[in-house]
Subunit: 120 residues, 2 copies
């Protein structure tokens, strides 16, 4: 693995924080990471996410090389989305962020009561 | 460690992605993580970051329990900022994000040429 840059102003790091923080991006990538592959599954599991916005995000993910889109020639045609290696790697980072969030932000947790010893 | 929620709509996870993606937040936290502790060091190392905005972010970090502010009674008085355990843990997640960014987004990298074997 490359070294971390250790440079908070690395353009690549900056781009990555922008990406992760963009509205719905984390939730959609995390859904894909957890095995949801169909457009309808993704809209159904993201409350408040419109089809239009999901479509826009999936196009961005394709352009970023995070997701591949596959047309399955069934009747009716099915379209599935899968994370690329790059996308899965980012999903792994989001998993670390989720562990952090569940440790430090979830109800009953927090700085005063981090409960770090809950077994995995 | 608590389990990751595996739930992309966990409010805690959502809050964490918002936090990481907020303008300058990643850069400032990462600077603190790499040992910069003084207001002047932080402004000097974040190109384009105004003192006003840094001050605002540091107050948010204090309110989130990510940072402690210490007044050192020197002449002149020095004010230093240090990550709490919660803040250091988030810094560790940002380190993972940085590794991902340097692997997949840095010049010469990318989906077609991830160079995953560069030694650490």
């Amino acid at each position: 693995m490359p070294r971390p840059s250790g440079d908070p102003f690395s353009p690549a790091f900056h781009h990555a924080t922008d990406l992760v923080g963009k509205r719905w991006t984390g939730a959609i990538l995390f859904s894909l990471f957890h095995g949801r592959t169909r457009f309808s599954e993704l809209t159904a599991t993201v409350p408040g996410l419109s089809g239009r916005l999901l479509s826009e995000r999936l196009k961005e993910f394709e352009a970023e090389g995070l997701v591949t889109r596959t047309v399955v020639p069934d009747t009716p045609v099915r379209i599935t989305y899968h994370l690329t290696e790059k996308g899965r790697a980012l999903g792994g980072v989001l998993r670390h962020l989720d562990v952090w969030a569940q440790t430090w932000l979830a109800p009953g947790q927090g700085a005063a009561n981090p409960a770090p010893d809950v077994g995995e």
